[in-house]
Amino acid sequence: MAERFLMKGNEALAEAAIQAGCKHFFGYPITPQTELAAYMSKRLPKIGGTYLQAESELAAANMVLGATSAGVRAMTSSSSPGISLKTEAISYMAGSDVPALIINVQRGGPGLGGIQPSQSDYWQATKAPGHGDLHILVFAPATVQEMVNLVGKAFDLGDKYRMPAMILADGMLGQMMEPVELPDTMEQQLPEKPWATCGHKNARKHNVINSLYLTPQALEELVVERFKRYEVIKENEQMWQEYRTEDADYVVVAFGASSRVAMSAVDTAREQGIRVGLLRPITLFPFPTKPLKKLAETAQKFLCVEMNMGQMVDDVRLAIECKRPVEFFGRTGGIIPTPAEVLNEIKKLGGTK
């Protein structure tokens, strides 16, 4: 077994990106994400990479657009208000069909909100990470180890489908420490990018990276083609974890840090004889509709547990085609629900208190 280290979520995200072959980071500090940028500032210069603290989040995200257009793996990271500033460039990247990794270590919002953990950018990440008809891949890790594993996955799928990918973490996961095993540093064979603007050397036609289209017909055609790609992604790339759902009358649906709370509440409820399980979406786009649809055949009720005002509830309802009631419990503003609170909500599902 590889050696295990204690790492903070933010550090683990950074190291995993380096292991995945990303040597180009452009960012701007913001709590509770700053350790990620600080880590990159220490590591990247030592391995011939670029760490650049830009003058703003906008500049940083546009630098990522530039770097990824040249064919390298590039990333940026921020926390909620900073991500809002990056959405313009995210839209341009989606509109230019280029991959990139964007990390959001969420904090309370809206506005400047607060620095405590939150999941209230779910809608932003999954519905409108930028203007226009677009999606990006969204991953929601729940442990520091999973953060490490998903960073590589996000880069790979971003390259495969030529689209930006986001790790939607939260302040709790970013700040907490857990033992992790890093992937073996292998000489990674990164995929060829024949579309990249990295010098044609008179050997091929010019490549152009662009998101402006001069006729509506051309733009429509491209957007429709892109949405066909999104359908392939929805079919093939859903990721989730099921926990004690085999015989579950009730299913708690939770992602990221709140799924950790939910899991411990599920265990306690099971000890008390309540047949409850947890469905944890790992990808938020594509949303794991397949397991939910299946669970709706047997479970009586669903309960979304989130650190927001219920942003995932409609996605669960759609996934189960409104066949069962979907209840909601959440805390927001930087408050983390306690296992006891969630247990109480689980009990309410069965009409007991």
Binding site: F5, L6, T31, I115, M176, P179, T338
Partner: protein, 219 residues
């Protein structure tokens, strides 16, 4: 452990300073002393001594927090009460410093108060299982950065090598010599080696200090 009236705890981010400070404070209070923990961490937004204020108050331990700790204000303001702690010789003081040189700058501001205070211990806390301090040489490097920032040289090393709740006897044992070597490089004694309470009896070595895992996420 028998603490001096003033104890300073510093080290790399995430080596376990806060958990150790809380354990030292509880141990010291148990021996019948009045204890004040000063949370000097103005770098880290979460997982800090201030989070345990109520729990510690029940044991008669006073916590002096940065003015806006645990709130949404990202403002690194220290409480003026810290100065009064140095005046109050009835109580033991434990200074829980923020990580690395960045955190140690806050300590530098009190250098004169510390030197005027008289006899004190400054413990450099190390954890072999943190990825930037896995070797004695790395640990020495980070210590020298901390000392440059605060001007307080260590009087001892506490080897706090652990993997949270997954720590095994083997993990602690394997890291034991790392503690000795780091202390040797720094020219100070290895004051203690910590081990989680449930396994501490099985660890072979001098000055094993059993600790509870107090700092953990809320699930």
């Amino acid at each position: 452990m028998n603490l001096k009236q003033l104890t300073i705890i510093y080290g790399h981010y995430g080596c376990g300073k806060t958990n150790l400070s809380l354990n030292l404070a509880l141990d010291c209070a148990k021996q019948g002393n009045r204890v004040t923990i000063v949370d000097l961490d103005i770098v880290n937004p979460y997982f800090r001594s201030s989070d345990y204020k109520t729990q510690l108050a029940e044991k008669g331990i006073d916590v002096i927090c940065p003015s806006f700790a645990g709130t949404n204000l990202d403002t690194p303001a220290l409480s003026p009460r810290i100065y009064s702690a140095f005046e109050n010789k009835d109580s033991h003081i434990i200074l829980d410093v923020g990580g690395d040189d960045a955190g140690a700058y806050a300590l530098g501001r009190f250098r004169k108060n510390i030197q005027d205070y008289g006899d004190y211990s400054a413990y450099y806390i190390i954890n072999k299982y943190r990825n930037f301090t896995t070797t004695p040489a790395d640990a020495e490097q980070i210590c020298s950065e901390i000392v440059s920032a605060c001007g307080i040289t260590p009087t001892g090393v506490i080897n706090n090598s652990h993997l949270q709740s997954l720590t095994t006897v083997d993990d602690v044992q394997k890291a034991y010599s790392y503690g000795e070597e780091t202390a040797k490089l720094l020219g100070v004694p290895l004051t203690a080696t910590t081990a989680p309470k449930n396994i501490a009896d099985s660890v072979v070595g001098d000055n094993i200090f059993p600790v509870d895992i107090i700092v953990k996420p809320p699930f």
